[in-house]
Symmetry: D2
Subunit: 275 residues, 4 copies
């Protein structure tokens, strides 16, 4: 019967619990110090310009402007965000880039809509901690133990999300970014052994609820390994609290990065569909 699979898809989508994994965007949200902050302002306020409608009523419109770094708030790292020895993933020259138009290859406009199996590995839950300490290194042993504990397996092409609990620090920028007092971004995450375990699963992307994804301070080896060596996207600043609270380990992960030509990243508002 024609239309049957669409009706099924619509029914599944309608019946799914939708988890919103993005944070609100507004002035003052935490951001990596080297990425420009999110800035907002009206372009026009209601009542500034008033239009007479034919029926005598008065209409008005309001609109806004934003400026932001492309790695601010919940966002996706494009593969061109890092280079190693002058090369991007696949061997393209990192120098093929201009200040005005960005990257010639791996720009965000080349990233397809993401609809993939998602897996949450709740490392904080595994450790029995509401929030992992700032120097916690997520290694293969934690990833494997989390899979066992949650009875979930990783498949090629998946999006694997690691929960550290740092989303709870979001309202306090100094703690979210630096783990407290200090001047260098600091927080838990995988180091090279954890990242290597993930890349061996041939996943599509991995993300977490921290600002830097990898354990920082670092020489950013995990970014190099995932983006440059493995072609695996990184997603940062996810809100994973509700998923974990509800014990959801598997879901359809959906993210639709803006096709910013030549860009190294894009704000996203990802969701998890659990059925």
């Amino acid at each position: 019967m024609p239309g049957r699979p669409l009706e099924e898809l619509l029914a599944l989508a309608r019946g799914a619990r939708v988890y919103d994994l993005g944070f609100d965007l507004h002035a003052g949200i935490p951001h990596f110090p080297t990425h420009p902050p999110f800035v907002f302002g009206l372009t026009k306020r209601h009542g500034e310009i008033v239009i007479d409608l034919p029926d005598g009523r008065l209409a008005s419109s309001s609109a806004d402007a934003i400026s932001t770094g492309t790695h601010v708030g919940t966002h996706l790292d494009g593969l061109g965000h890092f280079s190693c020895n002058g090369m991007l993933f696949g061997g393209a020259a990192a120098s093929a880039q201009s200040y005005e138009t960005g990257l010639e290859t791996h720009g965000l406009e080349t990233v397809a809509p993401i609809l993939r199996r998602g897996v949450l590995l709740d490392v904080a839950g595994l450790e029995g901690a509401p929030i992992l300490p700032k120097d916690f290194s997520i290694g293969p042993q934690h990833l494997e133990a989390a899979c066992r504990r949650q009875k979930v397996e990783i498949r090629a092409g998946d999006v694997v999300l690691l929960r550290t609990g740092w989303a709870r620090y979001w309202p306090d920028p100094a703690t979210y970014v630096m783990g407290g007092r200090g001047s260098a971004p600091t927080g838990p995450g995988p180091e090279i052994d954890g990242a290597g375990w993930l890349s061996r699963q041939r996943i599509f992307a991995t993300g977490s609820d921290t600002l830097a994804y990898e354990k920082v301070p670092s020489a950013m080896q995990v970014h190099v390994h995932l983006l440059v060596e493995s072609g695996i996207h990184i997603i940062e600043v996810l809100n994973l609290e509700k998923l974990a609270e509800d014990g959801v380990s598997e879901f359809l992960f959906v993210a639709l990065p803006l096709k910013i030509r030549g860009a190294t990243g894009s704000p996203i508002r990802p969701i998890a569909l659990a059925v």
Copy 2:
């Protein structure tokens, strides 16, 4: 069997044809003259800052900044974008708004992820024209005829997309925005009778491939009717060419607006999933 519906959902998503309904974002894209343009620039170029990796290799990163109006490129109009006689949809005061923090009600952070049945009504196709003329008014008769011709019905809660063919003018801003020479935005779309027909179907949102959605120049009555009177979102600057080319009339429409607090609109990259 546990997990069965998720496997079905994943299989349906994997098997679906994904239509990308958003345009690339870059300097010079068409924009309504009163909305700030899309502006892009690097914050850091590969090679500017070089980090020594422990193994002797040299890492570098690059990143970008953007600034843009929230109604530029493919985007969603929040319900607070228009007011009438000083009131927003539902009766909230339009004056409850500040230049720095935006709307107190109906801000974009209140818009849930959109996963709904989508319907394309190909009005250009109905008229046998590659592109509708700039003064074409899409009335109830066209909407009904398009439904009949495409053998599709509208249901409450749908997202209804109207194709005028103007996406083909996208590479030429003067034509896309003003239909050629001039200084006022001009283009085809529904007037109040067409909009009234749509709102009577109790849809969730309607969009088109033009800049203004409604036929312009106008007093913006259609925006007032849909956003303020009916609580129906408007989506503008969609690329509907491929959907029409493939004769796709029904699909799962997915859009994930950024949760910009207090904002009247958000850039989106919507997709249609056809199965």
Copy 3:
């Protein structure tokens, strides 16, 4: 005696009354609807990042980001802001311009620091009105009468400022931009006859306290005449109230436009030195 003229210059500068002709920049200031608004936000708040000083005290810094159109607030129009029949002042092709890098000729980086004789013509004062009405056309007769009344003459190379009194509307954007209710910029200023009188004096620049300088609505002939045909800069959104109040007609006018490469305009904060 060496250094003597510098001591004189310093003494004159020190003894001068300095009139500040610019307005504050902040969210919500009036702007021409087609120019992006002034938007401000912190990049970092005091206390977010704290540094230990060697003596045990705690230091912190704060910083900001802005985005704005280059024709917003008190600003200077570069000669490349308008074109006529495809040509800029002097005959350069207006098409020699890109979205990313701006104009190839007449970019703001080519505008020298401005230190010139300034003359205020108080047209509102001449008319005995605190504020000129929105449809007031400033003609040669007003300019000549103002010169006579104020006992001042125009010289080649001068900067001539016209006072309409509209600076008093500044706190109310709808009135400042549109003269009240409406949707098109509206306000007093010279039409082509007044502008022709000014250009015949071979002045360097002319400005006023309105948003558009010329009487609007218009086809912008005055901008074309001054910028494109005459090579005379236009300065808009000046605060001339204090100068007029003190009856200052002649002064050293100083403005230091930002050298924004390829730009058509720049925010400035001009001053008048009266001695």
Copy 4:
């Protein structure tokens, strides 16, 4: 005789050599990593919108948008840029600040136009080096020796500019910002002893041709000493090459910071008038 001092001032200004101490602003200029870069884009290109003039000619306009950190390019540090133990200069609470509206005290709108005696101390010239090495500390002995060598004295209220020669690195961001390869801003300048010598002269402001003014890396003690303890403004990213080449040691220094409400800094385009 009325008007006499103005004619003298005009004659002095006209006869002066004007040194432009600011750099061009464009995509890709060096910037402190934690300050958002300068980003530029057109809002409208010539020919996009065409207006019919009454005489049959066709007019068009073009305009631009920028976004930038307020401490990018040649700029002035407001006194509120740094705090110490939670206090700004004069004892105001650093916490009296919001992400949307900035500082309650010491915002840039409070900085008067700057027209003051300026002194260049050419420390690079003193050392017989075209460019000082990146770890050079400018101490009291260098400042005193430069005064003696240039036969110039410092007076209360002056603006004292220190030349290191780093302006020559401006075209190469990695060298200008970090002195070559690395990830932390690095360069020559005063440490606390040099800054203390300057503050004891009760000057109004001091600047240099580097990004950070003080010798970096540092705990930013010099910023704290000058801005917070002494109420002395800092000016960064000056182009002092031509002044030094011409052997100009004394001049009228003019800078007109934008009155950005609540801001901690402003781009400026300062000049030196030598007579």
